[in-house]
Symmetry: C2
Subunit: 237 residues, 2 copies
């Protein structure tokens, strides 16, 4: 937890927030604060700053917050991911969020097991937990939006053309591809397939939609490796 | 498993290997091969090629192998990692191996919990399993060498100067750092710290040894995100 995040509704006074449970435990047991100590804090969807420990009880901590700094710059990339296995999804949501992605589409493809859509990892609360962990890691305050699209064809035909209209589209795929650029043009829409890859029909649909097919050399990566690998090549203004 | 790997001692004839257990199960249950089918294969430490299914029993498969292609080019980077938590270590070993790293040092630093060194994840067999998974992912045949250094100071003072003599040294650290280059000079020695980072004494020792301190913008990543993020910026000849 490199930043302590709170939401607007946790204010108990105009500049005091009261934190319980996970954050309370972390602040008292890991940071081991005393009254008067200062912590890096941020208000979800808003500014960052410092929080001074005002009161410590057995179940909550009150922080007097002073918010002065804007959130870090977002990564100029929307990420479209074939829905990964649930434990991998959790890690990738943390990773992509910490990297600064603000729009994530989880989509069905031929090689995505349909049962993955039933996973509790996709429940809004559990999903949000991963996003918060990602923000806490990289001192960010702005939650990504996560969209789920359980049908590939309607998504690619009806929604994707509009989504990529103002960005450059790339899809990572090892066959019949160009080398990944050292630096992507931005804004970027990046598509990463499932373990086992896309089927030719899916690549055809994506290229017809304007996507460039790129590879990372002759190696094939796990999705959780591919995400930071490709996102590393996005310039930040 | 994008390639089926075997070792030299698994030959039962001059060009036939017999595979059991995990690989047998994978080949028969995931690839669902028949006699005559061909698979991508590789001999550990040697060439890659194709394996034709000669015989299928209930507990083994015999492949007639034809080895024609060299292993993919190694990443020109030795990676020095503060020993991560054991489950994270396992994933990072797979990830770094799939990215083509061939030399990995796991080191003690101030913020590495000493108990991590007792983990079964560091037992040679379990460690090798992760490396093999990484090779199978990226169709490689050459196992990385993994070294463990349980004392920071002797490692940095006595061994590291010699290790980086013919390479450029970089250490990822968010404070008092230069932006990470878009493309690293190679050969590269890259140091990545523990969750919580290095302490100033450690950074001083590394810079005294010739390392450049770099950051990835204002964001801080988990180690498993940082490894592919930074390794993505290494050019491959």
């Amino acid at each position: 937890m490199n930043i302590v995040l709170f939401s607007e509704k946790e204010y108990i006074e105009s500049n005091v927030v009261r934190l319980r449970s996970r954050r309370f435990k972390h602040i008292t047991q890991i940071h081991r604060v005393k009254v008067g100590d200062q912590l890096a804090v941020g208000q979800l969807g808003s500014l960052r700053g410092t929080g001074e420990v005002l009161r410590l009880s057995e179940s909550f901590v009150d922080l007097k917050v002073t918010l002065t700094d804007s959130a870090p710059v977002a990564l100029p990339c929307q990420l479209i991911l074939a829905l990964p296995r649930p434990p991998v999804l959790k890690r990738i949501l943390i990773s992509a969020t910490s990297l600064g992605v603000k729009k994530i589409f989880l989509i069905q493809t031929n090689r995505v097991e349909k049962s993955f859509w039933q996973s509790s990892a996709l429940k809004p609360d559990i999903l949000k937990t991963q996003l918060i962990l990602g923000l806490e890691q990289s001192k960010d305050t702005v939650l990504p939006e996560v969209y789920m699209r359980k049908r590939f064809k309607p998504f690619v035909e009806d929604e994707l053309p509009n989504l990529i209209r103002k960005s450059k589209g790339f899809v990572a795929h090892p066959q019949e591809a160009q080398p990944c650029p050292k630096e992507f043009p931005v804004p970027l829409t990046l598509v990463i397939g499932p373990e086992g890859g896309f089927i030719p029909f899916e690549i055809d649909k994506l290229t017809a939609c304007g996507f460039n097919v790129i590879h990372a050399g002759c190696r094939i990566f796990r999705v959780e490796t591919a995400v930071p690998f490709f996102l590393s090549r996005i310039p930040i203004s």
